[in-house]
Amino acid sequence: MLQTLLRVGRQLTTAVPYYASAAPTLLQCSKVFPGTCHNSMKFGSLCSTIAKQHNSLLFQPTNVPLCEPPTRTVTKFSLQKGKRKTVKAVVKRFFRLHWGGWIRTVAGRHKKMWKKSAKRRHRLKQHLLCNSTQSYLLDKMVTKFWRTPKYYVEDPYEPYHTREEHPIARRKPA
């Protein structure tokens, strides 16, 4: 009896490190089986059978969110400091040029390559500019950090950060 109890105890403790303490797991067990007592053999055996059958029941306390669920919406006021937050999905997919344009890849650029012509496959490798409405949206979805220019050396996007060669878009001379 003692051995089974000890074994169960060990199982529980091994399960513990993922969560704050063993207490909620034990409590949950007693909730699921209200007739059982902690010291009885019944509890131990039941617990071990449960551990064998439904590992997840012991391991996962219900109603307690373990981590923040993933969200892709823009956070306008964070919990801690009340600040705006970046939508990370935007930064992972788009790149902002210094003049305010955003570039992106092409959808389906690795899919069904067998039926696409060489010319089309070449076009899929290019990066495209977003239009004005899309750029305006993306600007709103990121914070000031991403909107400030980044001055990297040996930057492959360096020629595209300014539009000095276009007479209408040029900024210099002011």
């Binding site: 919406t73 939508v87 997919r93 890849t105 092409v106 959808a107 979805m141 400030t148 990297y152």
Partner: protein, 297 residues
């Protein structure tokens, strides 16, 4: 004034004496000073209250940014691309063009008879370097290289081959030097640094991924062998087809040869010294251990 009025005043004053002090937490607006906004109910007053006609605008349940009512949203439509991968580790060098540098010299904002470094350029107030924004100093760019005519001894943090050629063609000298963030804070605003009253730090060696750049004589790195640098000067002059001016015969030879020690942050000041701006004094360490820390032999 009647007696009763006096009595009332007296009791009021007595009450005031016993009451707590008037503070922001216990004062109230004057009665009638605040007017609550009214929601009109009449023919035009009770119209739409600025919320528009019909739909989510009227109900003021605006959709979240980027949501397209069930479509695959534009901002999630494309595959991920590592555009910003490792951005928090990459060093930034805000650019300064040769044209801007020439303008600074022509407008007497930079002295030509002294070595020019990051501190001198930041002191013009026309170049901004922010160490907290991961900036690591000046990237001298080649814009206006053909117009550049000054003969200078300049120290920057990054320079391309064209820039080096443009400076050396005029008989000048260029060095690329690394400043670690702590030294950079001191270098970009010496006044603020001296006000802190702490010793001038010693400049750290570049990080692993920058050491190749700063030991390369082709980049005029400050850790490169001077012999090899002079050889590279000759090589570059032949590549770009100009006659390398002999700085040995230059009247400003001493100025052109002046370089900072790899540990030094400011010209004329050594690491470990404390500058007292108030008393206009420089305090130098006497303790042998402190000296050994700041100037390891």
């Amino acid at each position: 004034m009647s007696v009763t009025n006096f009595c009332k005043l007296d009791t009021a004053l007595n009450l005031l004496r016993k009451l707590p002090r008037v503070t922001l937490s216990n004062i109230k607006d004057n009665p009638g000073s605040k007017k609550k906004p009214k929601r009109g109910r009449a023919q035009h007053g009770g119209d739409k209250h600025g919320a528009g006609n019909k739909g989510s605008g009227q109900r003021q349940n605006y959709m979240r940014l980027g949501y397209e009512t069930g479509n695959n949203p534009f901002y999630l439509r494309f595959q991920m691309e590592p555009y910003y991968k490792g951005h928090h580790l990459r060093r930034q060098y805000p650019p300064l063009s040769l044209l801007q540098l020439q303008k600074l010299i022509d407008t007497s904002r930079l002295p030509v008879d002294k070595p020019i470094d990051l501190t001198a350029i930041c002191n013009t107030g026309l170049y901004v370097c922010k160490p907290d924004k991961h900036h690591f100093g000046i990237n001298l760019t080649d814009e206006g290289a053909d117009l550049f005519q000054a003969k200078i001894n300049i120290e920057v943090q990054w320079a391309s081959e064209q820039v080096i050629a443009a400076v050396e063609r005029n008989g000048g000298v260029i060095t690329t030097a690394y400043y670690d963030p702590q030294s950079l804070w001191a270098a970009v605003n010496p006044r603020r640094f001296f006000m802190k009253g702490v010793p001038i730090p010693k400049r750290m060696i570049p990080p692993q991924d920058a050491i190749d750049y700063y030991t390369n004589p082709a980049n005029r790195g400050y850790l490169a062998d001077p012999e090899k640098v002079s050889w590279e000067r000759l090589v570059l002059s032949q590549k770009y087809g100009y006659k390398l001016p002999e700085i040995e015969k230059d009247p400003q030879y001493r100025m052109l040869c002046e370089r900072k020690d790899p540990l030094q942050v400011f010209f004329g000041l050594e690491p470990g010294w404390v500058v007292n701006l108030h008393d206009r004094k420089i305090l130098k360490p006497c303790d042998e251990e402190v000296k050994a820390f700041y100037n390891p032999q």
